[in-house]
Amino acid sequence: MESIFCKNVSKKYKKKIVLEDVNLELEPGKIYGLIGRNGAGKTTLLSMIAAHAPVTEGLICLGEEEIWENPNALEHICFSRQLNPSMIMVVKDYFKLASMYYPHWDENYAKQLIEKFELETSKPVSKLSKGMQSMVTIVAALASKADYTFMDEPVSGLDVISRDLFYKLLIDEYAETGRTFVISTHIIDEASDIFEEVIVLNQNQIVIKENTQELLERAVFVSGKAEEVDKAVKGMNCYHAETIGRSKSVTVLLEEGQRIEDSSELTTRAVTLQNLFVALCGKED
């Protein structure tokens, strides 16, 4: 299986730029997390890669071949999105269509998943709860057995137990098949352990694409007396600095070779992915 390449991809509407000059390589066999604020362009990006929407500029390829209008490439991709809550189609029929269109659809696996989630397949989508609607998209995504599977906020509306079930099912499937998954989510910390790599979208750009563990090892939360903090983090990538009285705190992303000097004046702490995301993408006062 080849990588997917986005080359200088932009998406612009009449007055709005959603993504600008994005370059990305998705290597096969990984679970990627895609995070970003609402409206940052997560859905748009996945949508363009799956050829659900055209690019305004740029090229998206699977290996050497462009994906757009290309059945050979498209049969390896599944983008399972949140359904329109007013859809009157019955769940059973939706899966029937999915089984027709996804060439590698696994009917037995789908049946197992439907049972695990206790999905009522005779109901129209509009009559399902938000959580159940998410389960439909999860089943479709997993049972598609597509080499590249994208999920847009798959756990939206799911309670914590169902979310847990989803993560376990995902890991099960990934461990067995090595399929590539790209999952966009707002529930960051929960899912961060699952992502081998994380992609952060902010201000029309990809600001981070890195192995999750390595990224978190580079991130440090430093706090203490303002002058001490400033001294320790001089020349480093600092984010979300906050000052209260004489104390200051800041989140730092260390580059190769940098480190925070040990000092009794400073407290350093590890940073979770969610904290890092807020520091990077939150509003600066």
């Binding site: 890991i171 461990a175 910390d189 929960e190 352990d193 081998e196 563990q213 702490r269």
Partner: protein, 122 residues
């Protein structure tokens, strides 16, 4: 995120530590099989690659070895290896931060030692 793992330390380090703790506590004996990468990934809801990284640390240190086609096993003498390494790391992992804290409270090293010697608790 698993309830077994904390946010403070890299996941893969926690994995290797947990296995080491199990070895020290005789939960897994020497020459017994260690859970596979996939088993651990599923158990802790983490990416298999991360679990693999944790196990590989143990492989590199000779604590665990691979039997082709069967799985990962605890090496003979692993317990000793772990104890030796942790002893060497003891100062960095525990003592250093105690001294730092003591310094900020103006407790001298002599006072510290007295505290340790005179305390009946443990």
């Amino acid at each position: 995120m698993s309830q077994f793992l904390s946010q403070e330390k890299s996941i893969y380090l926690q994995i290797s530590e947990m296995i080491e703790n199990d070895i020290l506590r005789d939960i897994i004996l020497e020459e017994e099989r260690v859970p596979s990468t996939n088993e651990m990934a599923k158990l802790y809801s983490i990416n298999p690659a991360t679990a693999a990284k944790g196990i590989n640390i143990l492989v590199d240190e000779g604590i665990v070895y691979k039997k082709r086609g069967i799985g990962m096993f605890v090496s003979t003498g692993a317990k000793e290896t772990i104890k030796k390494r942790r002893k060497a790391e003891f100062y960095d992992h525990y003592i250093r931060s105690i001294i730092k804290e003591a310094e900020s409270l103006e407790i001298s090293k002599e006072e510290l030692v007295t505290m340790i010697l005179e305390n009946e608790d443990c």
